[in-house]
């Protein structure tokens, strides 16, 4: 991301206006976007690899931010009344955070929901009965909750997350003709 500080502060929309000087000075790198400082932290266009996310979960920055708790514990939703409505459809629209209070996963760009990132996925599985925690509890937006479900299902398919399998009962007479 290239922060353009050229004397006057350009607004976000104006930044996209092409001028001759832009064409001369822009790099060949297509990923670099011209944004102002205020909205830089709201960009979510970078594809961060899973390995980075897994390293982040073991880092000091993560532990100071979240303590030993799951990432959704210290998140608080904003709504009127006692009973929370359904969580929003998505926090991220057009590669940008579209809300001031994004859900626990969207707000931290290094939390990637992937079947290999077992440490993160396990935070959303109840330690008491093995069920996936509902959005009423975790506060995830609907798209992230769906991604979470897919990631957990895939992790269980690969055997990275263990669970209690239903007991298979055998009728020995099927296999032993006496």
């Amino acid at each position: 991301m290239l922060l353009k500080t050229e004397g006057i502060q350009l607004s976000f929309a104006r930044s996209f206006a092409e001028t001759t000087s832009d064409k001369v000075s822009t790099n060949s790198n297509p990923e670099e976007l011209i944004v102002d400082e205020k909205n830089a932290s709201k960009m979510r266009n970078r594809a961060i690899p899973v390995e980075t996310s897994m390293k982040y979960l073991k880092s000091k920055g993560y532990s100071t931010t979240y303590g030993g708790d799951p990432v959704w514990v210290r998140y608080r939703r904003n709504f009127k009344g006692q009973f929370a409505p359904r969580t929003r459809k998505t926090c991220i629209r057009q590669d940008m955070l579209a809300t001031g209070n994004p859900c626990p996963i969207c707000r931290d760009e290094y939390l990637i929901l992937d079947y290999r990132n077992v440490e993160l996925l396990k935070q959303f599985i109840s330690p008491f009965n093995g069920a996936i925690l509902p959005t009423e509890k975790t506060g995830l937006c609907q798209t992230k909750q769906r991604e979470l479900l897919v990631a957990i299902l895939k992790a269980k398919d690969y055997g990275l997350i263990t669970f209690d399998v239903p007991i298979r009962e055998y009728d020995y007479s099927d296999y032993h003709k006496s």
Binding site: Y158, V165, P166, Y170
Partner: protein, 344 residues
């Protein structure tokens, strides 16, 4: 043929065409090794041995009955309820304990150890006039109640006109669609592929792998045999028997080790942990499997001694362990007799 057609018309049956590109999945076996039961040195057909009464009792005794482990809390995604406390008379307590015995037996039922099944090859008829009726095969299944899935008729009409019995994979897939077994997926989970199993075993998740294999496959499925053997051999090489000891899988594992002549590590483990009953039962099992004899020695120490001197393969290690155990036993008896004398 006429009788079979009559049978189908009386009972309900359903069919649906299976897309051609999925045909390949049924016929190609997985990338796991397809070793036959006798290849890695099984001395006998396990199916003969496993179901014998004396073998079953020996295996049950070896498994033991750790009720805490067997009845541990299972996380099945259900709504949790607080535990109930009841005041019962002795008769009611006995009744409840009897019920618990039945439940224990069910939970500790051992999955059968069998040899690989032969592929199904039966062809009912060949009608070349039907060639090219469709570009996919049709699979028919008899969904009447009252028959087990093993005996259910599943029949396939190929596009080249052949009417044959469905292969094992096709059978399993159809039966799973209409009579689903809990815990079984229609497509084989990726966990059972080469690299992924090893990952699970390295994390010591033996019971999980075996439970899932039991749910996913039938006991004579080549994939099931391959997965279970891999797990048993891994546990044996790394001597991690304690995690599997109170489970239903310990019996089949022991029988596998005895049949493939790898029981010495286990015997070593029993001697080191001073579990002489288990060691003696293991030796008795060896004799039962080897030549159907039950050994005449009543004394367990003598029994184990004879085995170590005789048919054992890892004699040096076993002898050393046995000698050290005997010394410890002797010292223990001396101390015990001294205590008795002192108290008298």
């Amino acid at each position: 043929m006429a009788t079979r057609a009559a049978m189908f018309t009386f009972s309900k049956f359903r069919y649906f065409p299976i897309l051609k590109h999925r045909v390949a999945k049924f016929s190609v076996s997985s990338n796991l090794l397809n070793a036959s039961a006798l290849e890695p040195g099984y001395s006998r057909d396990p199916g003969e041995v496993f179901f014998k009464e004396n073998v079953q009792t020996l295996l049950e005794r070896l498994t033991g009955r750790d009720c805490d482990k067997v009845f541990h809390n299972r996380k099945l995604g259900e709504r949790l309820e607080p535990p109930k406390y009841e005041l019962l008379t002795q008769a009611e307590v006995d009744h409840v304990m009897a019920e618990m015995e039945v439940k224990l037996k069910r939970k500790l039922q051992m999955p059968p150890l069998l040899k690989e099944r032969d592929p199904i090859k039966k062809i009912y008829s060949f009608n070349p006039e039907l060639q090219g009726f469709d570009d996919s095969k049709y699979v028919f299944i008899n969904i009447s109640q009252g028959i087990t899935n093993r005996n259910r008729e599943v029949v396939v009409r190929d596009p080249n006109g052949v009417l044959r019995e469905a292969s094992w994979e096709e059978r399993q897939r159809m039966c799973q669609i209409y009579f689903p077994v809990p815990g079984r997926k229609i497509n084989v989970p990726k966990m059972f592929e080469e690299g992924n199993i090893q990952n699970c075993l390295d994390r010591d998740e033996f019971e999980f792998v075996l439970d899932r294999a039991c749910a996913q496959f039938d006991p004579d499925d080549p994939e099931y045999i391959s997965v279970t053997r891999k797990t048993y051999d891994f546990v044996d090489e790394n001597t991690k028997y304690t995690s599997l000891r109170p489970t239903r899988h310990f019996g089949p594992m022991v029988l596998h080790l005895v049949l493939s002549k790898k029981m010495d590590n286990l015997l070593f483990h029993f001697i080191n942990t001073k579990d002489i009953d288990a060691a003696a039962n293991l030796v008795r099992l060896f004799h039962t499997v080897a030549d159907d004899t039950s050994p005449t020695e009543v004394d367990e120490f003598q029994l184990i001694e004879n085995y170590i001197q005789g048919p054992a393969l890892k004699k040096p290690a076993l002898e050393l362990a046995w000698q050290s155990f005997l010394e410890i036993e002797k010292q223990r008896r001396e101390v015990h007799s001294q205590q008795n004398n002192a108290s008298n």
